[in-house]
């Protein structure tokens, strides 16, 4: 007979273990990208080997800034994302407000929204 306390502990451990497994699956690819970026020769090396950081180097980052023209692409990304956010807010906030005002039998709000 399992005591209620032991049962409760078992449930806590099971839930946290399952969540932990999903966390590993979720985070492993981005973690590997970070590990690869911090190793000198990342391609065709075992992921576990990369995580050991045997060839640790920040050279890839300096290369990205110097040879990869990072700031040029970064500026483009900032311009595009900022414009998209501004346009969306300027257009969609009044639109959502307007939709709440047009209560009419002939015009259905959902249809305009879709």
């Amino acid at each position: 007979m399992i005591s209620p306390r032991l049962k409760k502990h078992g449930a806590v451990w099971t839930i946290h273990t399952l969540l932990g497994i999903w966390m590993i699956i979720s985070l492993f690819p981005p973690l590997m990208l970070v590990a690869a970026s911090l190793n000198r020769t990342a391609l065709f090396r075992s992921p576990l080997d990369l995580l050991m950081f045997r060839n640790f180097s920040t050279e890839n980052f300096s290369q990205a800034f110097v040879r990869g023209d990072f700031w040029f692409f970064f500026t483009n990304s900032v311009i595009i994302s900022t414009s998209a956010v501004v346009i969306t807010l300027v257009v969609c906030v009044p639109l959502a407000y307007g939709l709440t005002k047009i209560v009419n039998r002939r015009v259905k709000r959902d249809q305009i929204a879709v």
């Binding site: 576990l48 407000y97 307007g98 939709l99 879709v114």
Partner: protein
């Protein structure tokens, strides 16, 4: 009455800029796409456009490669929806358990795959997870004495690998929506279930799932539309290969339009995708309204 009409007119003034913008950025490409789908248009002789009516649609429907791409897209979409929604419900249910600590931290960590660019996620999975020699999956299989398959180079496994990778990207969205929905289920329902002797699985089946039904519909439609037009992650993983085993409609349209320079056919494929998605969206809205109607 006059006041009501005034309010109505004012509402339209607020809607108008958005409506105009949507007409320009959505309506124009759509109409142009439809126009090109009715013509023979080739990139190398763009100005020599010949009107062919619905001939491109007939050619597409008679093309076994189009049918193959349609089947692969359907399998890919269904696979992604089932996996993402199933995992989303399970993980959200676990997250919502009373015993879980640091919930905000778990939710934040689980969201990371969703905010990653699909191309970057695809590259990470291709080189670190599915890679034949050093990939984690094969290393785990080898540890247990299994074979080391070429996941992305084998016609039998490539589609499965792309479905799993895309589900990894989309599951966080499902987790977020289902977790938010689960927090709104009154504790009394769970208490009542416990009093009646319901275990965790019975609670999931008889309490949680019925309460989540409208949210499942919502998440499903988002994932269907996202998976149906998926391009970048599949392109980063397999490029549509090996052979045509992962060539979904968007990749097929791209190949026709860019590699074959047949923009008429590419637009035809894209327009059929739009029609299929419009039908799915209409079905969703109908189902959703019926569900809301039942609940109110």
């Amino acid at each position: 009455m006059a006041r009501h009409r005034d309010k109505f007119t004012r509402g339209w003034w607020f809607i108008l800029p958005g409506l105009i913008l949507m007409t320009i950025v959505v309506g124009t490409p759509l109409l142009m796409g439809f126009y090109y789908s009715l013509h023979d248009v080739f990139l190398y002789s763009f100005n020599d456009q010949v009107f062919v009516g619905l001939d491109n649609y007939r050619r597409a429907l008679e093309d076994p490669l189009y049918i193959n791409a349609l089947q692969i897209t359907a399998i890919f979409t269904v696979g992604c929806v089932v996996t993402s929604v199933g995992l989303g419900i399970l993980i959200a249910f676990l997250l919502n358990a009373r015993q879980v600590r640091f919930r905000a931290m778990w939710v934040a960590l689980f969201l990371i795959p969703f905010v990653m660019t699909p191309v970057v996620g695809g590259i990470a999975w291709r080189f670190f997870i599915w890679q034949q020699e050093f990939g984690v999956v094969n290393q785990v299989l080898a540890f247990f004495g299994g074979d080391k398959p070429y996941w992305l180079l084998d016609r039998e496994t490539a589609l499965l690998a792309t479905i799993i990778t895309n589900s990894w990207h989309l599951t966080p969205l499902a987790i977020l929506v289902f977790y938010a929905a689960l927090t709104t289920i009154p504790d009394e329902l769970h208490e009542a279930g416990r009093v009646d002797g319901a275990g965790p699985f019975q609670a999931l089946w008889y309490i949680v799932l019925p309460m989540l039904r409208p949210h499942i519909l919502f998440v499903s439609i988002i994932i269907i539309t996202s998976a149906f037009r998926e391009f970048d992650m599949i392109w980063a993983l397999t490029g549509g290969g090996p052979g045509r085993s992962t060539s979904v409609l968007s990749i097929f349209a791209y190949n026709r339009g860019i590699a074959n320079q047949d923009m008429g056919m590419a637009n035809t494929i894209a327009f059929t995708m739009f029609i299929i998605m419009a039908v799915v969206a209409w079905l969703y809205i109908t189902l959703y309204r019926r569900r809301v109607g039942e609940n109110t």
